[in-house]
Symmetry: C2
Subunit: 380 residues, 2 copies
């Protein structure tokens, strides 16, 4: 990464921040930081403003560097089977506007039309640098292809090119869990650590992994087997984490013990009111989730794991089992891994897609498809 990119990324994640701290965090020389900051200030990306709250010892105000949030805007879209959730963010990842729109068809052309409509509503009047689209499944950022999306039933869809053509914006696509992981790493619970995992529990069990500040193209935690003799999974495996702890499994278990079909809110309500059989179903799922988190901690060794997803709504019903299983199974140094539980609604997932665009602009990975962005970071 060039010095400009390193400096900008540090100011974005940690600003407002003094030049001394930028020097410390980037490992660059003070002269290199000064040389990198100047063109970024000239181009309107960074600003140095006196901080009256923290005057320097010489009586002059300190001049921390910070990102000019309004210098560029981004749109992020999260696709689900029945809804498009979209946000516009500023350059600092702050959400400025949100739109939800139902999906009545999952045909590619229909989804593109809704996406273009929603993006148009959010982008009009703003200089949008990049559009990020995230969805569950086998999604390749580099080529812009959706290889497989189970819930949309798409195979080999060149989504980035299609969306870029429909919106006129440079477009990036990413797996939704990985996009959320990027956002948490840069602006959320992952700030301050270089190895970090995000685990999402709900319809599926997903996992995003950041190792040495790099997002891995892996993290298939949902199909790690934790029960050699467990139930068959739709993937062809057996005893997968998803087959033991996904929402549908918990709900089916609760419905069976109660003897009638429940909704998830009903199941959670019964568990909270003390129904022992329902509570036991949640506890089993909690134990499975705890073992899954322990597998991540043991094998990959992140400093912090963030647990989120729809299942966090009933978290109180199995929090104890999750923590117990994680503690019992984490080995050696893995026991030091910190667990943070965070509800992140779909608006945050859409923001994750926007942050993938921010990261692409800043690190100049150049994966965005379509017309050259309205905004590009100065070369040096």
């Amino acid at each position: 990464m060039s010095a400009a990119v390193q400096v900008f990324a540090v100011v974005l994640r940690h600003g407002p921040i003094s030049r001394v701290e930028v020097t410390a965090r980037t490992g660059l020389s003070p002269a290199a930081v000064t040389k990198a900051v100047r063109p970024l200030v000239d181009a309107g990306y960074l600003t140095e403003r006196p901080d009256e709250r923290a005057p320097s010892r010489l009586g002059r105000p300190a001049m921390p560097v910070q990102v000019v949030a309004d210098r560029a805007f981004f749109v992020g879209v999260k696709l689900t089977a029945d809804e498009v959730i979209a946000v516009r963010t500023d350059l600092c990842g702050g959400t400025r506007d949100v739109v939800h729109r139902p999906l009545t068809s999952t045909a590619v052309a229909d989804v593109i039309e809704v996406v273009a409509d929603v993006v148009g509503a959010l982008a009009t009047g703003y200089e949008v640098a990049c559009l990020g689209v995230s969805l569950a499944g086998d999604v390749l950022r580099d080529t812009g292809m959706v290889r497989f999306s189970p819930f949309l039933n798409w195979r080999n869809v060149p989504l980035a090119d299609l969306v870029s053509a429909a919106t006129g914006l440079p477009t990036l696509i990413e797996n939704d869990v990985r996009a959320l992981t990027v956002a948490e790493h840069w602006f959320g619970a992952g700030v301050g650590v270089s190895s970090f995992a995000l685990v999402t529990a709900g319809t599926g069990i997903g996992c995003g992994l950041v190792v040495n500040d790099v997002l891995l193209p892996a993290g298939e935690l949902g199909h790690v087997a934790i029960d050699v003799d467990g139930p068959e999974c739709y993937c062809g495996g057996r005893g997968c984490v998803e087959a033991l702890a996904a929402d549908r499994v918990v709900l089916a278990g609760c419905s069976t013990v109660v003897g009638r079909a429940l909704t998830m809110p009903e199941a959670i309500e019964l568990g909270r009111s003390g129904d022992p059989a329902v509570h036991a179903v949640f506890e089993r799922a909690g134990r499975a989730l705890g073992l899954a988190l322990a597998a991540v901690a043991n094998l990959v060794g992140p400093e912090r794991i963030v647990l989120t997803g729809e299942a966090v709504g009933g978290y109180d019903l199995y929090a104890e089992q999750i923590r117990q299983a994680l503690a019992a199974q984490a080995f050696g140094a893995a026991a030091a891994c910190e667990l943070v539980v965070r509800p992140l609604p779909f608006d945050e997932w859409a923001r994750g897609a926007a942050v993938v665009g921010i990261q692409d602009l800043i690190t100049r990975s150049g994966a965005a498809r379509g017309s050259a962005g309205a905004v590009t970071l100065p070369a040096r």
Copy 2:
């Protein structure tokens, strides 16, 4: 990494190699490669020799660059509970000499004495740049401390400083599985891939992980749970891979079904001769190992997994179960992960410790403890 380090590392792993290929593999400019190669040639680390077998199109012989293997020597030591295995290697990781010496005591001072003796025998008459020592357990390369070694029953032993004082050599220590992983990544089955896993099965189940060409300080595969209701493990967990597939578990299982205490060679012999109960014990262990490999493939996504260890000796007894379980449980892109089975005797593990020293010299990580090395790579 400086250009010199990048160039040297590429020539070491891929040489003899043309300058054009060095340029391609490092991403440096031709001018930068030329500038980096010259001082390395002057200092005797690299040489350019005409390659008569591959004349250039202009009729002049090509001049591939290669490392001068004899420019520096390294000693690597692997400690087990009852033996010290040591090798001397050249700068290319080639093993030049091997010494095995029994350990009659595991007291720290006694082990140091044997190590110093063995190293003295290997190092005399050679300019040894670095000594690497590897052992199982919680071993910290950066501080040179053995936090815990179960089989030597050591806690918080400043091993690198002690060995360096006794031998007079700059000394590095590393976990034995990670050291072997480094050697395989640089000179073995991991050459050519940037994400790579080594899994060792035997007394314990170990795992070394290289992601984006960086060794992770993690890989506790042995205590990943793959059987939620499985047997208790000495670690306090339940259903750990080690509790289902370690040698002692397989041996205990075979002894139980036969009704008398077996040795491992006897158990393997009975399995091979077709004893169905003994064979079934191996098959269960194989299934557990396959699920463990699948957990690595799913979660971390290496391009290649190398399976090795003492258990590979009876590999034919459960190869089918390992491959079946891995294939059934690997999800999506993880199914493309290549499995390579390689017997690596303890001499290779000792070589791994030496390669940690080579890597330290080349990447200048500076973790070696003790007197400044006789050999240092020129700065540019």
